[in-house]
């Protein structure tokens, strides 16, 4: 089991993954990185970044498509594709893995303003129901099922009927050996 030796398993522990610093903005949809399998000294940084920080990137950005391209170009590079169609290019030649992390974070990472806006949005949600929201229950919206406290729901929507009606019983009996 070569993966369980040395530094490799540490890179997949929960604690390590949570320490990831690069968290992209919501505008970033696709991110691809080109590196070399056998890098020269000035191409080493990209490969080290992949080795150490790729899993963290995936963990902290679960809704972004991350693509690795091996031996694609002469110089290592990274490219981000934004929601509005723009492309942001990064030149990784001659840079160490820490410099690459700082570069990504500084350009497309979540800034203070971004985090502030997200916190406010989560606090004031229009899609919520309850006491601190504009609507108390979903049954107030047109097209939704009314509250069962006022109007009885049909049988086929109750769990009681779904698990216990005649057809389900027969099926269940047949399948038991």
């Amino acid at each position: 089991m070569p993966f369980m030796r040395g530094v490799m398993p540490i890179r997949r522990t929960f604690f390590y993954l949570e320490q990831g610093r690069v968290v992209f903005r919501d505008d970033v949809k696709v991110f691809c990185l080109g590196y070399h399998q056998r890098p020269e000294p000035h191409q080493k940084g990209a490969k080290e970044f992949i080795f150490w920080h790729w899993a963290q990137l995936q963990f902290r950005n679960p809704y972004i498509q991350l693509v690795k391209l091996k031996n694609f170009t002469v110089t290592p590079f990274a490219m981000a594709f934004l929601k509005d169609g723009r492309e942001v290019l990064f030149d990784l030649e001659g840079k160490s893995k820490d410099e690459i992390v700082d570069m990504f974070n500084g350009t497309l990472g979540k800034t203070k303003l971004c985090l502030q806006r997200e916190a406010l949005e989560s606090k004031y949600s229009v899609a919520g129901f309850g006491d601190n929201h504009p609507r108390q229950c979903i049954c107030e919206i047109q097209g939704q099922q009314p509250c069962t406290s006022l109007v009885k729901a049909p049988d086929y929507m109750c769990g009681r009927w779904r698990w216990n009606h005649q057809g389900a019983k027969l099926k269940r009996n047949k399948r038991i050996i």
């Binding site: 942001v88 030149d91 350009t107 497309l108 406010l120 004031y124 229009v126 047949k174 038991i176």
Partner: protein
């Protein structure tokens, strides 16, 4: 623990049957009134959804403006910040491109110079070698003048016989070489050529007394680093042989003086002298007995 049979039918992951790919399902027959009713219902449903979405969107926007105290401003600031960061990154890329072009140019120039230098070195080396080779060949051509051929063979043989070369010499521990004298074509003043005497031991009488005396003085002077001190002790050739041996065996100047005055430094010399005396006495006795 119960074991349940798997559900019947094909697993969902498998592809559909080939027949199903080209199958065209025929819908059930509907009466025109039913069809019209269904169409109308679908239209109404779609319109309701559309209108509901628009209503909620408007509600959201007004809500955001009222309750969030100017959130569109935050959105605008965020967009401006992103544009600014992207522009900075593009600027960095442009600078990097310029530097890369410069670096590539420098590398190219360096590589070109190295290549040219290497080429020059190789050309010089080739030229030098060519010169050496031509000189060699010219020397070889010169040497061919002295090569033996059937035409000049007899002449060369005669020359070799007329001018023999002697490579025979003796050498002592100090490294001084003693060449034998040049061989004479006609030794002992004979008209007829009898043989070559190249070895000194074969021709002791070749050297004259004066030459022998000179040799011995040179020998002593080189050994003891003196001049003209031991000249009176040089003796005749026959006895000089003993003197030569004594000189070789002597360690210091005192030993030589003792020997010359009559004393011996070595037992071998004593024995040699004693035996000589004894032999002469014996001879006298023998001679006297015979006479008697």
């Amino acid at each position: 623990m119960r074991r349940y049979l798997p559900p019947t039918g094909k697993p969902p992951i498998t592809p559909p049957h080939e027949k199903k790919l080209t199958r065209a399902l025929e819908p059930e027959w509907l009466s025109p009134e039913d069809a019209k009713e269904l169409l109308w219902r679908r239209q109404v449903y779609k319109n309701v959804l559309k209108s509901m979405r628009r209503v909620y969107k408007e509600e959201y926007e007004t809500y955001m403006v009222e309750k969030t105290y100017g959130w569109p401003k935050i959105y605008a600031e965020e967009r401006a910040e992103l544009n600014h960061l992207i522009e900075e990154q593009n600027e960095r890329l442009r600078q990097g491109e310029i530097m890369r072009a410069q670096r590539d140019k420098e590398n190219y120039e360096q590589m070109k110079n190295e290549f040219l230098e290497g080429l020059e070195e190789k050309l010089e080396k080739d030229h030098k070698e060519l010169e050496e080779r031509t000189q060699e060949i010219l020397k070889q051509i010169e040497r061919t003048e002295h090569f033996l051929t059937p035409e000049n063979l007899e002449r060369e043989i005669e020359y070799a016989l007329e001018h023999p070369v002697n490579y025979n010499y003796c050498i002592d521990l100090r490294g001084t070489k003693f060449y034998d004298p040049e061989p004479l074509k006609y030794p002992d003043s004979a008209k007829r050529q009898t043989g070559r005497r190249f070895d000194r031991t074969l021709a002791p009488s070749v050297l004259s007394k004066e030459e022998l005396k000179k040799l011995r003085t040179e020998k002593i002077e080189t050994k003891f680093k003196t001049k003209g001190r031991f000249a009176r002790y040089i003796k005749a050739p026959v006895e000089g042989k003993v003197v030569d041996e004594a000189i070789d065996m002597a360690v210091g100047w005192d030993d030589v003086e003792k020997f010359v005055e009559g004393g011996d430094t070595n037992d071998n010399e004593k024995k040699m002298n004693d035996t000589g005396k004894k032999e002469s006495k014996k001879k006298k006795k023998n001679a006297s007995t015979k006479e008697s």
